[in-house]
Each structure stands twice: as structure tokens, then as C-alpha cells.
Symmetry: C2
Subunit: 157 residues, 2 copies
């Protein structure tokens, strides 16, 4: 992971469809070399995939909500995660250092869907309480930040 790799990753985060040829021009290498580097970045788990970024409102998911989840003290967390994972409306799920052990972000078309979803989450075994907050607007999301230069090991080379 040198300066060139960092540049490649930054470029691919800004535009995931940048061609190897274009990347090669930007970093001053040839396409096969860049392809080689990208393959290694993927293999080493630095780049884990590529996604089209979609406007949720444009596909009928106009309502976004954050739900904090408080489990029972004796809750089975593996089971809770499994059950949460099965709910496809949950876009992200964090395990937190707080009373609300989990925070999930959900997207639904209508308020009625949100209500149904909350009941479903609240009904999961081991879930004591939920707290839902509606997002009124998304200022920004998934904004890539530059890779810090002071670097860290990442396993296999």
C-alpha cells in the first residue's frame, strides 16, 4: 500500500467505473500494472466491491429512519443479528458501545411500512426496546474521505 495504491483507491472511490487505462494515465503507469494493483487491493480486502449509488427517493424509498435497539441483558446477540439481517429494509447495522446496543438504518416507501418494520424489529426475541428517529433530510451520505498517509498493516500481501 504505497502512494500509488492510495491514489488508485481514492480515484475508484470517487468513480468506481474509472477504467484501468484511465487510472494508468492518472498514476503514470500502464494499464496491466494498474490492473495488477487493483487485483491485489481486491484480494487483500482493501476494495471489497463496487456499487452504483442510487437516490433512494428516485426508487420509491423516500423515508429513512434510524432505529436504536436495546436488548435484554440476557439476549442472544447472534440470534438478534441473524433476525435483523433477514430484514432487507435494513441498510446498515452497527453494534454500539451504549445502552442502545444496535443502531440500524432503514428505508421504506411509506410510513405504514415503517410502522410494520418497527413492530417486526420489536418482536425479535431478546429485543427489549426500540427508539426510532425519522430523518428529515440527508445532508450527505457515503462521502469518501481521503486515505490517511500514516499507514496501517492490512494482512496478506
Amino acid at each position: 500500500m504505497d502512494e500509488i495504491d492510495r491514489t488508485i483507491v481514492n480515484l475508484l472511490r470517487a468513480d468506481g467505473r474509472t477504467s484501468y487505462a484511465e487510472l494508468a494515465r492518472r498514476v503514470g503507469l500502464t494499464a496491466p500494472s494498474v490492473q495488477d494493483r487493483v487485483a491485489k487491493l481486491e484480494k487483500n480486502g482493501v476494495i471489497t466491491g463496487y456499487q452504483a449509488v442510487v437516490d433512494p427517493e428516485a426508487i420509491g424509498l423516500g423515508i429513512t429512519a434510524l432505529i436504536g435497539i436495546i436488548p435484554d441483558s440476557s439476549a442472544d446477540h447472534l440470534a438478534i443479528c441473524d433476525k435483523l439481517g433477514a430484514i432487507e429494509q435494513i441498510e446498515s447495522c452497527y453494534f454500539l458501545a451504549g445502552v442502545e446496543c444496535y443502531q440500524i438504518k432503514v428505508r421504506v416507501p411509506k410510513m405504514a411500512d415503517l410502522e410494520q418494520l418497527i413492530h417486526r424489529v420489536a418482536g425479535i426475541g431478546g429485543v427489549a426496546q426500540t427508539r426510532t428517529t425519522i430523518t428529515l433530510s440527508t445532508k450527505w451520505e457515503d462521502r469518501p474521505q481521503p486515505i490517511p498517509t500514516g499507514e496501517v498493516e492490512h494482512g496478506v500481501d
Copy 2:
């Protein structure tokens, strides 16, 4: 936005580098037709971009935190948003229907960076209080959910 468009968007969310040729095979059209549809989806704001998905830990951003922000009653929200937007460690920013008007998600290499960041946020004019929660683990993030079929208008065609 018909069934074919939905399939294309779903495929591109799952893998943003899928070629037009491959998409064409999957939806039973030719590459130029698919290219045409994708161009329209981009033009209409359904697809807003493409991103490589990067493992934050692998690039030295091992610490993720959620920060709730409570503003003064008389706060200038445009100014707050501007100041928050200038902080590049903030990956996302939501305006919420709650006491904590904003929730931001930040990523930093070290705890010392988080501390510095909290002070910076707390120092923004109009910010009365912040509440930071460390994420102990990310169960999943940015998981694309299928596009609902009962559809919604999205402006220009």
C-alpha cells in the same frame, strides 16, 4: 422506470462494474439499449454515481463513531451544515426529527483523532451539545435493498 430498469439498477447496485454487455445478457437486450437506459437513469438522477467499496480498517480508519448534535434554539442551520461539511472525516450527515437535530458518522485512525474531532464539532457556532457513541462493530453497511415495484414518479424523463 419499468421492470428492466429496476433489474439493471439492482444489478449495478450489487456490482457497479458490471459491463453493459453483461447487463444486456441478464435483461435480454443488446448492449447499446442497456447503455441508453443507464444513461437515462443517470440523467434522471436515479443513479447518481459509482463507488468502489473500501474496508475502512484496511485504509487505517479503524474507528467509527456516531455523533448526535444538539443545536441552540437560535442556531443558524445553514452555517452549521457548512461547517460540518468542511470536516472531511464526516462520512454522512442526517438532519433528524429529534432533540439531536443532526447525526453524523465519522471515521478516524486513532482515539486521539476522535477527541480532536469532537472538540472541533462542539466548537461550531450554534452547537450546544454533542453525544458520541463508538461503534464496536459494523454488522453490515450500504446493503442494497431491492427496488419496490409499486413505483413513484421521479421527475424528468
